[in-house]
């Protein structure tokens, strides 16, 4: 069902373009404060870059970038980051997910909220990326013809 691309041009070009896609995805996640973007979009881009490798380079090559067995743990790790930021706000004395009470000293509440948004978006990005790869891998499992 899933077949590795046999064309040299497609393989080389996609291999060259993947780092730039990933860099752009990181930009979208980190710069989501002041421009359109955020965790979901950046995570979808990261996932798409790795799926491009899966489709063109083949299974063995793309396993080096993102191993298949790491998919589910990474997805859980993203959700864990999100929940842990909420718990950290509780430790600092606020209610769950109120980032103004994060236990970091010497910052204004507005800046703390900004930092909390960044942490949470990172978690969401990791979760979305890993989930997209997991869905693709499981559907394509047993159907690879390298």
């Amino acid at each position: 069902m899933v077949k590795k691309s046999s064309s040299i041009i497609v393989g080389i070009v996609s291999r060259a373009i993947v780092p730039f896609i990933q860099l752009f995805a990181l930009y979208v996640i980190v710069h989501g404060h002041s421009s359109p973007g955020g965790g979901f979009q950046g995570g979808a881009l990261l996932g798409a870059s790795i799926l491009l490798l899966r489709l063109t380079v083949g299974r063995e090559g793309s396993e080096l970038v993102f191993p298949e067995r790491m998919g589910t743990p990474m997805s859980g790790f993203g959700v864990f980051i999100y929940a842990f930021v909420g718990v950290a706000a509780m430790i600092g004395g606020g209610v769950y997910l109120n980032y103004a009470f994060l236990p970091i000293g010497g910052m204004q509440p507005a800046e703390l909220r900004s930092l909390g948004i960044l942490l949470v978006e990172t978690g969401v990005g990791i979760g979305v990326m890993a989930t997209m790869i997991v869905i693709f891998d499981d559907i394509a499992k047993g159907n690879f013809h390298d």
Partner: protein, 89 residues
């Protein structure tokens, strides 16, 4: 037909006094979106209001939604686990 008839009664596209854009609703409760627009920069230090609402004002919503996609990944994994060896299900 019924849907088209219903659509003609909706507010015009882009009108400022549509019910979801106004300051306070019919019963006098304050509207959410205008509050977000006024206070997002002040409270969050974040110019992008969509991010501010998504991650902070509605943090629980996004937490549940991240959990939903995590569960979707787990479910796909569990459904298709047995296909690995080409076994019959």
């Amino acid at each position: 037909m019924l849907l088209v008839y219903a659509a003609t009664e909706l507010p015009m596209r882009g009108s400022i006094d549509a019910p979801c854009n106004v300051d306070s609703s019919l019963t006098g409760t304050p509207g959410a979106s205008t509050y977000y627009i006024r206070n997002a920069q002040k409270e969050m230090n974040t110019p992008n209001m969509v991010t501010a609402i998504l991650a902070d004002y509605r943090g629980y919503d996004t937490l549940g939604e991240t959990t939903v996609i995590f569960c979707a990944g787990i479910v796909v994994f569990l459904i298709l686990r047995k296909l690995k060896d080409g076994k019959k299900i």
